[in-house]
């Protein structure tokens, strides 16, 4: 994917005239640009809506720019006020769990590539199947477990403020559910690694830990980048765990997606400009990561 363009010679029909080829090119680009509009207009419409004054909102088309004097950042300020704490909370659990599940996934993948015993296929199948478990199938026992864990924590005298206790629960949960996909991504790389080198190191008496630290880890740095980017996006975007583990929008540990889901919702209707500002604000970290590392992201998608 990374920029390696496929030769087009194969697609051009030799019999068509030069004008015909030109027309086809124009058609191709027109389609591609039309599709850009299709994929961007919901986001663009959100952006222009979020910066319009109330008059501009009524007087302009939903996707049209607000026009002179019709711009206000009021809603962004409101959204920032409401979501600021949620954004910090989201970062507080997203970053540690991303790092943790990448490390654990790499270890699991290494361990499973190392062995060639009979149960290995079954163990790896159990890892991979974990990717495809709908979270609904575990969410009730999960909330049960965390409420019992809170009692245990209390008995053990583990003193954490409510906010950090919940964030710790979220870190553990996201790590556990991130392990399967990380394992799969790392294993796809480890399977193609040069094992002659590792066999040679083993014959020289290097322990499996030493091989992991000295040979495998340095070789997997590019894969770590892919996994970090992919998992960061996935965990930041997650909603169901936030909804059920945190529970309430007013909780001090509420995540950005949870706060956004209730933002500007009133009996008489929804404050759409505020919602749009909030949605874009919530999307900023993942958008930033995605636009910077689009190639690596696309690589992580290809499981």
């Amino acid at each position: 994917m990374s920029g390696e363009s496929v030769s087009t010679e194969r697609h051009t029909d030799d019999r068509t005239t030069l004008a015909g080829v030109g027309l086809r090119r124009v058609g191709l680009y027109a389609t591609l640009v039309g599709l850009v509009t299709f994929y961007l207009i919901p986001i663009e419409s959100g952006l222009v809506t979020s910066i319009k004054t109330s008059e501009a909102l009524i007087n302009t088309q939903p996707f049209a720019p607000p026009g002179p004097g019709g711009v206000t950042l009021e809603k962004w300020a409101f959204a920032f006020d409401a979501l600021g704490r949620g954004m910090v909370n989201s970062l507080l659990f997203t970053i540690p769990s991303t790092i943790l599940c990448a490390i654990l996934g790499s270890m699991a993948a290494y361990g499973l590539t190392l062995v060639d015993w009979r149960g290995q296929v079954a163990v790896f199948a159990l890892f991979i199947a974990g990717i495809f478990i709908p979270y609904q199938a575990v969410i009730v026992p999960l909330t049960q477990f965390w409420s019992q864990y809170a009692m245990l924590e209390y008995r053990l005298g583990l003193i954490l403020t409510a906010r950090y206790a919940t964030i710790l629960e979220l870190i553990i949960t996201h790590t556990a559910y991130g392990i399967p996909i990380c394992t799969l991504l790392f294993r796809s790389q480890y399977k193609t690694m040069s094992w002659e080198m590792i066999e040679a190191a083993r014959l020289d008496g290097a322990s499996v830990w030493r091989i992991y630290k000295r040979i495998v880890l340095p070789l997997s740095i590019p894969m770590f980048a892919v996994v970090f980017i992919f998992q960061f996006t996935q965990i930041w975007n997650e909603f169901l765990f936030s909804l059920t583990i945190i529970g309430s929008v007013t909780d001090p540990a509420a995540s950005a997606t949870l706060i956004l889901s209730g933002l500007g919702e009133a009996l008489e209707g929804v404050d759409y400009p505020l919602r749009m500002a909030g949605a874009l604000l919530t999307a900023l970290p993942t958008l930033f990561v995605y636009l910077l590392f689009a190639d690596k992201f696309a690589e992580g998608v290809q499981i």
Binding site: V6, S45, F127, Q144, T175, Y212, L260, S261
Partner: protein, 323 residues
């Protein structure tokens, strides 16, 4: 204890068979066992497996027991009296049948639409075009966003009075429709938005697969005088089948999980006639109405449905030697 001993015996036997006369190296049996691959590799895959296994497999088992109780969210569930009453209630619940039907429609239509549109996008971008990577980045962009975020955009797009969708079809003298309020339209509207979000994903999968087709096959087809359409139909698309399989597995799983999107676009747990799927019904029963045991039973139904996807996927992966 007996089982542990039996396990160690079996391990030893396996070891002996494999190393074939390995006693000659002078190591004791215990020492050889400690050196075995399984024991050496267990510290690596063991801890992640325990963590993941607890939260995935133990949780599903626990969920199954919960679904046999009458637990309603207060106090401790009573595991003393287990019964199938929730499953019986599930069969009799008309809302359950509607949710199952909607889930299946969503699965099938969404997956096929994504596979088709993704293929179209991939074929377009397989040409040598300028800004190829930028186009790809834009088409995949919605995939990087949260369901909660994209649902806000689409809620605004589908707004009855101010929404772009009604403004757009108004140009052709149609509408306006209440897209999210009309039971006949709502599922289609939701699927359309989900296809917007996920077709870029299918495109990426296809692009990778297209790149791996050896170019001499194109050459051969060209020498035979095959037209572009024929080339795609006879040479290229048949080779995309593995990519199609793995993409549809992931798409189906996303569709099963579409809860986040529906929750956000409808603003809460409220049931939506025409767009209630198993995932939304499960969370609403358990967390909205405190029917925890009943919610667990729906969760098991959802899990069984996902098994129908996981099992064939694992099987094909096994056959291809990827496990």
């Amino acid at each position: 204890m007996n089982r542990v001993i039996a396990f160690v015996r079996r391990l030893r036997r396996e070891r002996r068979v494999r190393t074939d006369g390995g006693t000659a190296d002078g190591r004791s049996t215990a020492r050889r066992w400690l050196d075995s691959d399984v024991v050496q590799s267990a510290p690596f895959w063991g801890p992640p497996f325990l963590l993941m296994g607890f939260f995935v497999y133990a949780a599903i088992g626990w969920n199954f027991f919960l679904s046999l109780t009458t637990f309603s969210g207060f106090g401790e569930p009573d595991y003393g009296e287990l019964g199938l009453q929730n499953y019986w209630a599930m069969v009799q619940d008309p809302g359950m049948w509607a949710a199952t039907r909607n889930t299946l429609v969503l699965l099938v239509v969404f997956t096929f639409a994504c596979l088709l549109i993704g293929l179209g996008l991939a074929i377009l971008l397989d040409h040598e075009v300028r800004f190829r990577r930028s186009f790809r980045t834009i088409y995949l962009l919605p995939f990087a966003l949260s369901f909660i975020v994209t649902a806000q955009f689409w809620r605004w797009m589908y707004n009855v009075n101010a929404g772009i969708v009604n403004q757009f079809i108004g140009v052709f003298g149609l509408g306006p429709y209440n897209w999210l309020g009309n039971p006949q339209l709502v599922l289609g509207a939701v699927i359309f938005a989900l296809v917007w979000q996920f077709s870029g994903y299918t495109m990426v999968i296809y692009l990778a697969a297209l790149r791996s087709i050896p170019s001499d096959q194109y050459e051969a087809a060209k020498v035979d005088g095959a037209s572009a359409l024929r080339m795609y139909r006879r040479v290229i698309i048949p080779q995309l089948r593995p990519a199609m399989v793995s993409a549809s597995v992931v798409l189906v799983l996303f569709a099963l999980k579409a809860f986040d999107f529906l929750y956000a676009i409808f603003g809460g747990y409220r049931p939506r006639q025409g767009a209630d799927i198993l995932a939304t019904k499960m969370v609403r029963e358990a967390f909205g109405r405190s029917e925890w045991a009943y919610g667990s039973a729906i969760a098991i139904a959802l899990f069984v449905l996902s098994l129908a996807v996981i099992t064939p996927y694992l099987y094909t992966q096994y056959q291809r030697g990827n496990l």
